[in-house]
Amino acid sequence: MQRPTSRREFLRAAGAAAGLGLAAAIAVRPAEATPAAMQDAIRKVVGTARVSPGRVKLDLPPLVENGNTVPLAVSVESAMTEADHVRAIHVFTEKNPQPDVVGFRFGPRAGRASVATRVRLADTQTVIAIAELSDGSFWSASVAVVVTLAACLEEA
């Protein structure tokens, strides 16, 4: 699949082909999500609005010792006032069995739009954070993470 150059173009192109892609995903039920499934999950949150890269800072270690527990931190530049604040931050992955990771909801009482947690990553992949602002705009950041597996896996 030819990758467009920018995140915005990618989302537009994938959105255009969404109808076909969605039908295929339901019929086949792949063991892992695909970039198309992730795009679909993003669209459920974003609708037809445009997602612009920027204003979001997504922190993940570039190389992870164990995909079971990966520290993740997201923050968004925002004054966090009643008039102008971050309403939500959503996190998605492209290769986990499901694309949704977590959705955080904020208000002006947060003081700042920042949150940290620990996530699971099934494989080396890209993680995307999308912030929804009170003015209805969406901003994003993405990070590529390399996930190594434990050398000696014990029996469960």
Binding site: E65, N66, P71, L149, A150, C152, E154
Partner: protein
């Protein structure tokens, strides 16, 4: 010490330091091989999931159980005082059994003999919680098991197990952990295998677990038949590993990948 005794002692000490052992100054805890993020997870007591077991252990410590209707606290009082430095000196010799026992065995021995309660099963939630609570009271202290005429034979047996080739891969623990520590094995760094932080919250397990669980996992990894939980071979190996880590800082409950 008289000169002759001192000379004999010096020879004994020299003979017990094999050429292959990691020089004391080069010993590193598994902590040093971890990423910055995993270290932060261990250091922050709110971020460290092992603390959830410590907290439960603290609550179990107060619970009156068994035919004696007695709590750990009834004899031992506040664990922060009574259990300080205890985990760092286990396995320890038990006169009744005539051999060293580990911390889990000590806790179960107390339950049976003093509380009239049944022993807890290996890796059970409760046993891990009590062990974690006791071990937490040694955090920051130097490891120091007692080696004397009584424990020496068991220490030697543990060392022999550490150096013995085992399993289908015909590997000895020492080959990875003495000779090749710091190098990569399938994307992970090989640590020196010092039990500085048990029981550990292992990311691979997504749970807290004991040193014996880790040792059995390693044995499975080299395709050897793992000794049963509580087997003398495992306790002797624990004793040897703790002696090998003598003087290093105890970190329980540690976080490890």
């Amino acid at each position: 010490m008289r000169p002759v005794a001192a000379a004999v002692w010096a020879i004994v000490v020299a003979a017990s330091v094999f050429a292959d052992e990691i020089p004391p100054a080069e010993r590193r805890s598994g902590y040093d091989f971890m990423s910055r993020e995993t270290r932060a997870m261990q250091d922050d007591e709110i971020a460290n999931p092992g603390m959830l077991w410590v907290l439960e252990g603290a609550s179990l410590w107060q619970r009156k159980i068994g035919t004696a209707a007695r709590a750990c606290a009834d004899c031992h009082g506040d664990a922060r005082a009574s259990m300080a430095a205890v985990a760092a000196r286990y396995p320890a010799f038990d006169a009744e059994r005539g051999r060293p026992i580990n911390l889990e065995q000590r806790i179960n021995a107390c339950r049976v003999a003093r509380q009239g309660a049944p022993a807890l099963s290996w890796e059970s939630r409760e046993l891990l919680a009590l062990t974690a609570h006791v071990a937490r009271q040694s955090r920051g202290l130097p490891i120091g098991v007692t080696v004397d005429a009584r424990t020496q034979p068991f220490l030697d047996a543990g060392r022999a197990t550490f150096r013995r080739r085992q399993g289908q891969l015909n590997l000895a623990c020492s080959q990875c952990h003495d000779d090749h520590w710091g190098r990569q094995l399938a994307g992970n760094v090989i640590p020196q295998a010092h039990p500085t932080g048990y029981p550990i919250y292992r990311l691979e397990w997504q749970s807290l677990g004991s040193l014996q669980r880790r040792l059995r996992g390693c044995l499975v990894g080299i395709r050897a038949e793992p000794y049963d939980y509580g087997a003398p071979e495992l306790v002797d190996l624990e004793l040897y590993l703790m002696w090998r880590a003598r003087g290093m800082t105890f970190e329980a409950p540690a976080v490890r990948p």
